[in-house]
């Protein structure tokens, strides 16, 4: 029995040795600035994660072509977090203690940002967050910044446009159904939706969730139809979005407004297949190719992104997340140039103080690291014909309805009118 111990010992030792080598990097004459992060390259959020990575790599190449930051080239060190939070602590400590990167940014999504928070907080590091919902609510960490334009009330930002638009209609809708996935983002969005419905005096007549692995959505849609709501707010991931849209049409659920927080109606693979079935649906969005949303650099970015995306096999439109991943890096890059260094405190102070020009427009952060003002838009699919992907690059298809400063068209109301 005792003879086996050495085997175990050797295995353990080998394990540590292997995981610790490979970090004695070469000391180049002009030391690069190294930025580390984990990213969902596989697992449930991989579609977004891979797109974000591509956008960040485009930023890196752009910066390096222009001579780098502070005259130093930028390098990335990144690992696949497999959309599994338990890999994140290991990844970030490896980045910091073994790879000794200069800066870290977050991976994609709330669940993958949260496990990294205590690690960056312990070391007082600047931490740029990519699409996290309320990650800083408990921590109130002053060096955390989050690029999605959710504003000071993140949960409510996805539904605000939907319910504001509803409240403006005459007669004002009286009842709403709320439904969504049993998952992180949809649950947050539903919390916000409940708040807005209450605030605007719209009665909630159905409020339920379903498991993400649901196959048939028609029973849910029928139950909603039976409560006869004026408007229906759905917070869902791609399978749920697809399932709800198809089931609603099959069952004949035609409320006055339909949509809300449906993830997936921003990706080519679903847009092209759903085609005209999308008409009339109101959804949240961050960026769409409408004239009111043009900002300097975004065209140029998309021109680089789209061919690269086709090659990499990720979403070829890239309206949802990639510009924001790029913008996040722009904020970081501009702060480094302006503070002329990598001092975490100075960087954080600078990002708090200044407004940034990015491909998604002007960015200004509030005290909690969220956008000072929220800028999530509500848009409606209009005039979609056939299944051609090109139409989604044109204005007038994903019409921005709210907020007013970005408005590019009018809500077609009720829903059934848009479906003719």
């Amino acid at each position: 029995m005792m003879r086996r111990w050495p085997v175990v010992g050797v295995l353990i030792a080998a394990a540590f040795a292997l995981s610790c080598v490979g970090d004695a990097g070469a000391q180049a004459t002009k030391q690069p600035i190294r930025i580390g992060f984990g990213m969902a390259l596989t697992g449930g959020l991989a579609a977004n994660g891979q797109g974000a990575l591509l956008a960040m790599q485009i930023w890196r190449d752009d910066v390096n072509k222009a001579g780098g930051l502070l005259g130093r080239p930028v390098e990335f060190t990144y690992y696949d977090d497999q959309t599994n939070g338990s890999t994140v602590p290991g990844i970030y400590t490896k980045l910091l203690d073994v790879d000794k990167v200069d800066l870290v940014v977050s991976g994609y999504g709330t669940n993958l940002i949260a496990p990294a928070m205590p690690i960056v907080m312990e070391r007082k590091l600047l931490f740029m967050g990519l699409f996290g919902l309320g990650n800083n609510e408990k921590h109130k960490y002053s060096r955390y910044f989050q690029i999605a334009p959710n504003g000071p009330n993140p949960a409510g930002s996805f539904s605000e446009g939907f319910f504001e638009l509803a409240a403006r209609q005459n007669p004002k809708p009286k009842t709403t159904a709320l439904v969504g996935d049993d998952a992180e983002f949809p649950q947050h969005a539903l919390v916000g939706a409940r708040e807005h419905a209450k605030r605007l005096g719209i009665q909630v007549v159905y409020d339920k969730t379903y498991p993400p692995s649901t196959v048939d959505y028609t029973p849910i849609v029928r139950a909603i139809k039976a409560t006869n709501p004026d408007i229906v707010f759905v917070a869902s991931y791609p399978p749920g979005s697809t399932g709800m849209i198809l089931a609603a049409q099959e069952v004949g659920l035609e409320p006055k407004m339909f949509g809300g927080g449906m993830v997936g109606l921003h990706f080519t693979s679903l847009l092209t297949k759903l085609g005209p079935k999308l008409n009339g649906i109101v959804d949240y969005g961050f960026w769409v190719p409408e004239p009111t949303m043009k900002s300097p650099g975004v065209e140029a970015f998309l021109q680089k992104y789209q061919p690269a995306a086709v090659k990499a096999g990720v979403d070829p439109l890239g309206f949802y997340l990639p510009p924001w991943a790029y913008a996040m890096m722009q904020v970081l890059g501009q702060a480094i140039e302006a503070t002329k260094g990598l001092d975490q405190q100075k960087l954080a102070e600078y990002i708090h103080a200044k407004e940034f020009d990015t491909v998604v427009g002007k960015v200004k952060f509030g005290p909690d690291g969220e956008w000072l003002k929220h800028r999530t838009v509500a848009m409606q699919f209009q005039n979609i014909k056939g299944n051609d992907v090109e139409q989604f690059r044109q204005p007038g298809k994903q019409v921005v309805l709210w907020p007013d400063e970005f408005k590019s068209g009018n809500l077609i109301y009720p829903y059934s009118a848009a479906r003719k």
């Binding site: 939070g85 910091l96 203690d97 669940n111 690690i119």
Partner: protein, 314 residues
Amino acid sequence: MQARWLLALAGVLIVGAFVVTRTVDNRYVYFAAYGILQYVLLATAWNILGGYTGYVNFGTGAFFALGAYTSVFLIQAVQAPLVVLIVAGGLVSGLLGFGIGYLTLRLRGVFFSIATLALAVVLETMMVNWEYVGGAKGISIIRPSAGPLFTNYVQLLFVVMAALAMGAVAVAWFIEHSRIGRGFATIRDNEEAAECMGVPTLRLKLLATTVSGCLMGIAGAPFPYYITFVEPVSAFNLSYAVNSLAMPMVGGTTSWVGPIIGAVLLGTLQQLATVTISSELNLLIVGVVLVAFVVLAPEGILGLLRRGTRRTRA
């Protein structure tokens, strides 16, 4: 007397782990080691039921998550200290283990496995709908301070997990070398014959499911402090079920050493793949290793070693 030596060795290892925290500042070592030790614990726990008695539990994730959620509940409710969390997590999951033990009265083989799988689904749905522990949204957990002995909380977690893993291995060792372990083996080999040779099979199976479940719950108890954000998808992750089953298989299921070897090997491989290859290929490697091992080394690494020594002696 062998037991005494092993006990001493375990003590030395725990003290060693503590000493490591005095000398090594590289925190990645702690996180990586925590992950591997957690798998040593889970694989050993699984093996007590699966390897020794032959009842294959597909629901490791459920027991692990139940331990983790017990902790979340206690942290939310009373800010309970880590020791209490570990004890409570073990108790609650042990109770669940006792419950599924009664299933073995009627369910054998794959039927039992399917039942544990079903149990995991039911339990996950409950957690998803329980707002107090975060529901589907998940919940942030703030770590307490590490206390005077450690410079940061991760070191503390590492030492705790090292001790827990060691404890689990000790339990497995004692079972294996006692009458209980031999009784377990008769159940695995032929339950009816075992009963007729005077082995109280139900009582032993209940013991196995309870101990195994308890250890899995203990593995999950510190998880909220490790990850600081608990949500059902990562707590009930399929990888716990797959790994806790695959690791003993790769190492060898009939001995307490097997799960250790498997956990260290597969755990390290996965950790390495995460920080080197970092792409879809990561999962591919796990798949290929699993297939290669069960096809080429059916009795695991221990089996290979045994065959090797037999050949050299011959």
